[in-house]
Amino acid sequence: MTASLLSVADLGRDGIEEVMAVSDSFVEVSERAIPKVPALRGKTVVSLFYEGSTRTRLSFETAARRLSADVMNFAVGGSSVGKGESLRDTVETIEAMGVDALVVRHSSAGVPWQVASWVSCSVINAGDGWHEHPTQALLDCYTIRRARGSLEGLRVAIVGDVKHSRVARSNVLAFSTLGAEVTLVAPPTLLPPSLHGWPVTASSDLDDVLPKADVVYLLRLQAERQTEALLPSLREYTAGYGLTRRRAALLLDDALVMHPGPMNRGVEIAAEVADLPSSVVTRQVANGVAVRMAVLFLLLGSTPAA
């Protein structure tokens, strides 16, 4: 039974801590002259991205290459991966070619679970619809840990379109598992229909939450939300929920500003605020490769090559 990473919940507190502990070593590897180790030599990592994302795909690819694994990329639109071939056929064909890990991203929630039920290799969820993005949550936890030492008792505000955000869902799970206090800040139309059972508090007043936040995590606002009658305009969103220059002054001195990227400067974050020292967004990206190396190493680092 090969291990997969489909949800942050798969790891539990111990699992998250283990990923972060090993990530330290991979940060060191990435800073070397030759940022490569042979740990996954002979293993094959295939990324199957049905939803475009150059950044995440590159991050996974870099991580796999730095572990000396062989990498293959399938991006929908090219080759036979399109509407014609069924998801199951595609995945089983890839598996037949010999793959140790399948990194899957899809616009529909649950696809990694479906894939995992059809293949015997490891499956890594690189983002499924609105549902989860576990490696993002892991690198976010790691970034906070490196900056602040521990998440225990830390007050984290997640701001923005929570309803449609897989990053938010994974982060709520990860942050609360590590002992942080999570507050969601969003207009009512951008919160999920029900927060019952979520380990969070909710607020629609960002000015009230900001001065008490150790970490401000901004979510990306997609322009389509305006056309779906969820918001009257982007301007109104920024006025109520954007990290403007005025709001940046309300932040605690050592507060961290985070964003999963890519940032909509001028919408959820003012251009000048994005480049303040409190913004650790570039660190998130750098840590992303190390954390994904840790995940790949933990999942594949011992089983014989396919």
Binding site: R88, S108, W113, G129, H131, S194
Partner: protein, 420 residues
């Protein structure tokens, strides 16, 4: 033996397609086929007023023949096939085609006609022409009629034909983009949700329209009700004397939206599976008569289609072969009550009660089923007679199984095996 008149112990003699005698201790004549019904319940055949046979157009999922075989194995002697075929059943020609296919079927196949042309919800279909061929139930099922004015006209026009308009209640504006019930589970799973109001608003609207056209003789039947609100609305309407009827599916009586957590599109259905409170309310509706019938909404889909991502997989579940067992096991209804909901009451709604669901008595057509209420079996998708495999009960152990089914006196199912 259980029928609408009550329960008794007896043997049944069938000759020339009719019930010839009902009495204790009938001696079989030489050469007669004897079907053992020891420990079983002999009942009128079940009637499903909501089945998708997929033919014409989607034969890879099901045909009239394979669907009727599944029906017979489930104890059904009559089904009403829904019109969302390709082409839709919106004219005499397509009605005739399906009826002809049904002539050799293992159960009686009736057809529901579309209310609007192509089920597009824009213009009335030729209801009278289809009624002339015996169509008694009309629905755009798959969709609800969105335009209130059009629905009113349809009710007025149909009232002169002695037919019933059945509604798939779904307000498409409210439901837009949803793939499961909107609530705690959809929030957790990150799947766009359909609020209960999408169903309830149309139930409310059609009750009002039915009230208005009642004096003309129009009749409205609500298909697959799934929410507490819907059940309450229908209960109140009936109490007020509005001539409406309602059905519920076995899956809305036994499964909740939590099942979707597996992300298996087998659990994707329209209307969606609901939370426990709604399931309880639908069961209560069965118990107090707010809901008149259990109908399967048997919706076969080819395996590839149900292996698509949840968002893009088509909604629908199989139902014909498991309906009775689910109603007896998961809902726990006594056999007599189950039969009322699955045989004579739906027969009356679909105006099939001349031939089906009626009391087992001399001179009546021999459309019967023999049920073993204690038989325990496990649902194996690969062993179902349906061409498709999308049952949400795969691997479940159920109690209650049909042993024999007789269609117009012909034993089409004997000892759980289809005879042709």
């Amino acid at each position: 033996m259980v029928d609408a008149t009550g329960e008794r112990r007896a043997d049944v003699l069938v000759r020339d397609g009719q019930v010839a005698a009902v009495a204790a201790g009938i001696e079989p004549a030489a050469g007669a086929t004897v079907l053992d019904a020891g420990g079983c319940v002999v009942a009128p055949g079940l009637v499903d007023i909501h089945t998708h046979l997929r033919q014409p157009g989607r034969e890879e999922a099901e045909t009239v023949e394979t669907g009727s075989r599944a029906a017979a194995l489930g104890g059904y002697t009559a089904v009403v096939a829904m019109p969302n075929t390709e082409p839709a059943v919106d004219s005499a020609g397509v009605v005739r085609e399906v009826l002809e296919l049904g002539e050799r079927a293992l159960c009686e196949v009736r057809v529901a006609g579309a209310i609007t042309k192509g089920r597009r919800g824009e213009e009335l279909a030729p209801l009278a022409e289809m009624a002339g061929l015996g169509v008694r139930l009309f629905t755009d099922d798959g969709r609800g009629v969105q335009d209130a004015r059009l629905m009113r006209r349809a009710l007025e026009y149909a009232s002169a034909l002695g037919v019933t308009l059945a509604q798939h209640c779904e307000d498409e504006q409210l439901a837009a983009g949803g793939h499961m019930h909107e609530g705690e589970w959809s929030s957790r799973l990150g799947i766009p949700g359909v609020p209960s109001e999408a169903e309830e608003l149309m139930v409310m609207r059609d009750i009002a329209l039915a009230r208005r056209t009642a004096h003309l003789g129009a009749r409205v039947h609500f298909q697959h009700l799934s929410t507490a609100g819907s059940v309450a609305l229908v209960r109140a309407a009936k109490a007020d004397g509005v001539p409406v009827t309602a059905e519920a599916t076995p899956h809305h009586l036994s499964l909740t939206d939590e099942a979707v957590a597996s992300y298996d599109p087998v659990f994707k259905v329209n209307p969606p599976l609901r939370p426990p409170a709604d399931v309880e309310a639908v069961r209560a509706g069965l118990a107090d008569g707010a809901i008149d019938a259990v109908a399967t909404d048997h919706a076969p889909h080819a395996q590839e289609d149900k292996e698509r991502p949840f968002d893009s997989a088509p909604p629908g579940m199989l139902g014909l072969e498991t309906a009775l067992a689910v109603v007896l096991t998961a809902v726990g209804l006594p056999v007599g009550r189950a039969l009322a909901l699955m045989s004579w009451q739906p027969a009356r709604i679909a105006r099939l009660d001349q031939g089906h669901g009626g009391p087992i008595a001399e001179g009546r057509p021999a459309n019967l089923c023999v049920i073993d209420p204690a038989a325990v079996w496990v649902v194996e998708p690969d062993r179902l007679a349906s061409r498709s495999r999308n049952t949400p009960y795969a691997g479940r152990k159920l109690t209650g199984r049909v042993r024999h089914t007789l269609l117009r006196g012909e034993p089409v199912v004997v000892d759980g095996e289809a005879q042709r």
